[in-house]
Symmetry: C2
Subunit: 110 residues, 2 copies
Amino acid sequence: MPRASTTSDAFNAVAEPRRRDILNYLAASEKPVGEIVVALGIEQPSVSKHLKVLRDVGLVSSRREGKQMFYRTNGEALRPLHEWTKTFEHFWSHQLARVKVRAEAKMKQN
Amino acid sequence: MPRASTTSDAFNAVAEPRRRDILNYLAASEKPVGEIVVALGIEQPSVSKHLKVLRDVGLVSSRREGKQMFYRTNGEALRPLHEWTKTFEHFWSHQLARVKVRAEAKMKQN
DNA sequence: ACATCATATTCTCATATCGGAATATGTGTC
DNA sequence: GACACATATTCCGATATGAGAATATGATGT
């Protein structure tokens, strides 16, 4: 069995750095493909292919306006990722407290 | 150019569902490989291979105790994922998002 | 040294991938 | 219709993958 398809879910789709770049770029406002191409410096066919993947998993939506296709990030599709990583939040938010405590303990020694 | 290696970063490593299962399982407390095998019903070689990937990206750490190898989740390595998804949080949590969604729903009625 | 238990590695295979190049589709204008 | 513009699709090649099976390594006890 090979690796799961990039279009199988949001986890697989955002594993690709370029696709995260695109999502970041489209988060502020919708943009036509051509602007993504120049802004991120990616070849046009690659951008179209990445957008297709993102669209398949619901991470972007599109709208046609004349010759142009406007894409926008649909951040809601990232919610499962956020929720899942959130369950590990205590690993670092608690740590801050622990480091603090350890630092204070060291201070007392001196 | 093929897909980036699963060991290139945490994003790629957790794209595999089994590896997320393992991270979930090891989050509570460290466990030997054998227990992961029975708990998740995955073949032992697969578990070892997944653990190697997770270890390569710092998502788990290991400790030997006699014949057994204990693994534990290192949640800190998921922080980049959490931080990144957090930048999209307003898509679902912000009141504006809710208003938008409701407005779009109303549009669809017509 | 040997046997046993626990884990890791190696091998094969079918498959999905990404980038690049070329081409196709779709839209508006003359 | 012919043309230009914007975007999408197809074909190619190199490569990493995950599962399964077989085997290797490592640790302990006798």
